[in-house]
């Protein structure tokens, strides 16, 4: 039987002896993730103005890549982008960093360290449905890695305007975005495990030694996984907004074709 | 079992102390089939061994293949100024490699060589790179390994239990008495054999690298039980402790800082070790480096906070952070100094007691039947000065031997019981601390004691200072019977704890001061301003302390215990030293 003591944690949500403004971070995370989620859904439903094509350009919004209607030659007004978007969104929602941030900010379990969380009849962590599905993070990673391949293809293809090499603001944005997304995706904890972390011995074979050095490199990215998570979320967002505005004719993308 | 409010336990072997030596002894006793109990004054795994940083000296020869036990033995003897018990130094040098390998098999993880064997680093006084280590937290690695091994051996552990008395039946030790610190409940142990692994007594000095627990309990308990103690005048002052800020003064700065290439300078930027020991420089033995720093400061060449500069800023910052991570943290957190950029300020700090209970080298038996001692609580292995790295070997080698020795005695012994009068006596002492009519505050008396020892029995000593200190200690003797805890509550009462500890520390202080007065020479860690050279007589004699009580303490010079078959090795080393 757990003993009850006078020094037991105060039960009401948010009770703490901390003096700092610990609630700022969860509030900011709730705001940012909610806005991004709403934006993503609305954007996919709107389902237009997602590629810059003026002047022979070919700049595809990351929300709509790969361009399934283009590749498979079909036309639909339905929000088809969901057919792809589940994988990067799944990667993010099962990502160890995002889990930390939404368990804290949305589930209040706990809202911050040494701050009392929301009272629950029964806490089960990640042992029961649906949260146990977060263990499938690596599956989302496999698919998201394929999407990253398409985004690199998009970024490189974007450098060619009617077949001629050119460069513009849109291209720069596309490259910055795909670099940040790659840094996020390949700093993944599951990837770090698969590439080498699962080995019990880093030195026992030549292959293990190679995997160890790969593991070390992934570990470097992983150390700033949180930063890459936020940066890449905002670069995706910004890239899409930019392409939307240009393709809707609000302004044109400054570029130079050689 | 409970009797008149006293919890009672019965063991074949009872080990007092849960540092490296106590844990190793308990493991050995349990493996030898003895029902074994282990009493810790603190929580398990918090003992002073965690503070050991540099490494464990063992002549594995992984880095220097030419290393062997004989060289390690010679280094130990030279470091101890030939006052060591030869047999102990021999056993230690011979068995330390096996003890190091054994730790690995129990799960310890040490730094590696490129050949994937245990790496070894250089340390003061060691001819070759010899110290097995992991970063600068070797002691923690050892204690965690031994702690886990103990927990999974058949050993019952009593945490936060303070022992205040050894109990004898006639001439033989048959158990001990004390209380549980968390509740104040009294507790008695009957044991066929009892191992003291209680560590040193650094807390008799204000400036010390020692934990709160290091209050010389084992020295005092053994003395009161009739055991002999040896070499008590030799107190090692580690050359490099922090000197600032005041709250952390004395905190250890590992010798590994110098082992990795740290340089000592005075305020004028002079590398002063060139004047004191041009051959070994910073890696001279601890006594020499400590005295050199002390002398620099005393002659006006100290740093603003009264120490010397110790500098590693010429080394690669990443290397420093990897090899000395806890030093880097310690200075950054506590002193606001980034050691990769600025020098540290360091000065001598009380670190280790070479002296201790006199034991049989092979079994750890004291002269009192049923009583054994090991580790820092025992004396003889280190002579007049201990080399860095030898204590971690010492605790393993002699911990195992004492555990086996105690188990052998226990297995050959019939049942023992605690005489009722002795138990009643021990109980009365504790109740006196709580409810007696005394008026002496243990916190204040502890401070007074530290001042007496710091002023009169510090790193440099002379007849006048020692005599004065002994006089003051005698004044404390008169008052110590009047100690009383400022509060009479039973649960976790810090005053009660300190009452008995102050008594123990006072007994130990007497031993140190009196032995220091008797030894009219300077040797190893013992430096007399009025007798600066070596004396031929004292070079052949240890001082044995014994008595029937604190007021009846006799000191007897006794010839060093030699061994014929080692004569050649020792002579060869003496010749080599003369030649250089």
């Amino acid at each position: 039987m757990p003993m009850t003591t006078v020094a037991d944690p105060p039960r009401p949500l948010g009770s703490t002896m901390r003096r700092d403004r610990w609630w700022i971070q969860p509030v900011m995370i709730v705001v940012a993730l909610t806005l991004f989620g709403i934006y993503a859904v609305i954007r996919v439903i709107i389902n237009k103005d997602y590629a810059i094509t003026a002047g022979g350009a070919h700049l595809e919004s990351p929300f709509f890549s790969p361009d399934l209607p283009g590749i498979l030659s079909f036309h639909t007004s339905l929000p088809w982008a969901f057919l792809v978007l589940w994988s990067p969104l799944g990667l993010r929602s099962s990502c160890y960093y995002y889990r930390k941030s939404y368990y804290r900010s949305f589930f209040l379990a706990p809202p911050s360290c040494a701050v009392a969380g929301a009272a629950r009849r029964k806490y089960t962590g990640e042992t029961k449905f649906p949260l146990v599905l977060n263990n499938l993070h690596r599956i989302f990673f496999y698919f998201a890695a394929i999407v990253i391949g398409f985004l690199w293809y998009d970024a490189i293809r974007g450098l060619f305007y009617h077949g001629s090499f050119g460069i513009g603001i849109g291209n720069l944005i596309m490259f910055v975005n795909v670099i940040c997304l790659s840094a996020f995706t390949f700093g993944c904890n599951s990837w770090r495990h698969i590439i080498g972390g699962k080995l019990n011995c880093f030195s026992c074979s030549t292959a293990a030694q190679k995997r160890h050095s790969a593991w070390q490199k992934v570990s470097i990215l992983n150390r700033s996984h949180m930063q890459w998570a936020w940066i890449s979320m905002f670069t995706v967002w910004f890239t899409d907004v930019y392409i939307w505005l240009v393709s809707a004719g609000v302004f044109s993308d400054p570029h130079h074709v050689f | 079992m409970s009797d008149g409010g006293i919890e009672h336990h019965d063991y074949d072997v009872l080990v007092l102390g849960s540092g490296g030596s106590g844990l190793r002894a308990a493991i050995a006793a349990a493996e030898a089939g003895a029902r074994t109990g282990l009493v810790c004054k603190s929580l398990l795994g918090k003992a002073h061994t965690v503070m050991a940083e540099g490494g464990l000296a063992a002549s594995l020869g992984n880095v220097a293949p030419e290393d062997n036990w004989a060289t390690h033995f010679q280094d130990t003897m030279f470091g101890g100024k030939y006052l060591n018990n030869w047999r102990m130094a021999e056993l230690h040098a011979k068995e330390a490699p096996d003890r190091a390998r054994e730790l690995e098999h129990w799960g310890a993880v040490f730094d590696r060589t490129p050949q994937r064997t245990m790496s070894q680093r250089a340390f003061g006084g060691h001819t070759y790179k010899r110290l097995v280590h992991i970063g600068d937290r070797t002691g923690l690695e050892m204690i965690r390994t031994l702690h886990d091994k103990t927990v999974h051996s058949d050993v019952e552990v009593f945490m936060e239990t303070t022992i205040t008395r050894l109990i004898k039946d006639g001439e033989r030790v048959v158990g001990c008495f004390g209380y549980r610190r968390q509740t104040g409940e009294l507790i008695a142990f009957a044991a066929k054999a009892l191992v003291l692994a209680t560590g040193g007594s650094g807390r008799i000095y204000k400036i010390t690298s020692n934990s709160q627990d290091c209050t010389g309990d084992g020295y005092a308990l053994a003395f009161e039980a009739g055991a002999q103690l040896v070499d008590m005048e030799f107190v090692q002052f580690h050359p490099t402790g922090m000197v600032y800020p005041p709250g952390v003064a004395g905190l250890l700065v590992t010798e590994a800082v110098r082992g990795e290439g740290g340089i000592l300078r005075n305020k004028d930027g002079e590398r002063f070790m060139e004047r004191y020991d041009p051959k070994r420089m910073e890696l001279s033995t601890r006594d020499v480096v400590a005295r050199s720093i002390y002398t620099e400061v005393k002659e006006g060449r100290g740093t603003p906070h009264g120490g010397a500069y110790l500098d590693v800023s010429h080394l690669d910052p990443d290397y420093v952070k990897r090899k000395l991570p806890s030093m880097y943290d310690q200075f950054l957190e506590l002193a606001g100094v980034d050691i990769t950029k600025e020098p540290m300020q360091v000065g001598p700090t009380c670190h280790y007691f070479m002296g201790g209970v006199k034991v049989d080298p092979d079994t750890g038996a004291t002269r009192v039947p049923g009583l054994f001692a090991t580790g820092e609580a025992s004396g003889g292995m280190n002579g007049a000065n201990r080399l860095g790295g030898n204590s971690l070997g010492d605790i393993l080698v002699f911990g195992r031997r004492a555990g086996e020795g105690a188990a052998a005695t226990a297995n050959a012994s019939g049942a023992v019981s605690l005489p009722a009068e002795a138990v009643a006596d021990a109980r009365a002492e504790i109740e006196g601390f709580l409810h007696g009519s005394g008026t002496e505050n243990p916190f204040h008396m502890h401070r007074e004691l530290q001042k007496i020892m710091g002023d009169g029995v510090g790193i440099f000593r002379d007849e006048e200072g020692l005599t004065e200190a002994i006089g003051k200690l005698e004044e404390l003797d008169a008052r110590v019977a009047n100690l009383r805890a400022p509060s009479d509550r039973l649960d976790y009462n810090p005053g009660l704890q300190l009452c008995r500890e102050v008594r123990n520390m006072l007994t130990v202080s007497h031993m140190i001061a009196r032995a220091a007065l008797l030894r009219e020479e300077s040797r190893g860690a013992h430096s007399r301003l009025d007798h600066t050279g070596y004396s031929d007589y004292w070079g052949e004699h240890n001082i044995i302390v014994e008595g029937t009580g604190a007021h009846d303490m006799s000191l007897t010079p006794t010839p060093v215990v030699k061994r014929d078959e080692l004569e050649e090795l020792v002579e060869a080393r003496k010749e080599a030293e003369k030649a250089s």
Partner: protein
Amino acid sequence: MSETIDLAHAPGPRKLQIWRGDLTSGELVEYELETEPGMVVLDAVLEIQRSQAPDLAVRWNCKAAKCGSCSAEVNGRPRLMCKTRLDHLPADQPITVEPMRAFPLIRDLVTDVSWNYRVNKQITPFTPRENLKPGVEVNAKGEFLIDQTDTDRMSEFRKCIECFMCQDVCHVLRDHRLHDRYYGPRFMMRMASLDMHPLDGVDRLDQIADEGGIGLCNITKCCTEVCPEGIHITDNAIIPMKERVVDQRHDPVLKLLHRTPNKGRIKPPPRSETPRL
């Protein structure tokens, strides 16, 4: 960041509010004391014990941030009192010092942490694999052959000083009191260091997942935030162990391929008891 202590600036008096009480009742009691430069919270508490409150119960030992005894909650955050400088805490208000909350109180600042020792006892100790390859994994003298790269990964976890602040701040233990179902970050890390030992011969994944309860950890990383040794408990120990458990029981691809982790390691006998608080 380097900052030197300003000598000209006298530190002056500070107020501390220390939790005083036992299982029946208690309150924060305010004390005032003169401070010295560089003073840490433990210095202040011991000075108060010496001069104002001689029965103040506080557990401490090395005072060098190496033994992990003096854990407490300072201004609401778990900290080692011996490593927390007063001048790093806001000067305009009293400093609160309270016992850890995830464990039963004994008195004042001292809590009963024995549950942690009961958990530790349940963890199968390091057991070298049988048939270690001579010359490759063990040499003729019986010394292990291990590479520094493997040592480095394990030794991060072995820096742990068992202050139990990660256990204290873990909401699974602190808020939900699931001490009988989750071993806590300290022991997840202990099992990680054993599981990552190249020569260990025990298959620990069932214990990690079942008795250890790794699924209850929702990786909110407070353990990592409070660790005084700077160990990346969540990223380097718990998440890798979660991933190994995924290998063993969740990954559909590995199941399809009949790939099971920990080949050559032997499952230990079931644990004798569930550690309860």
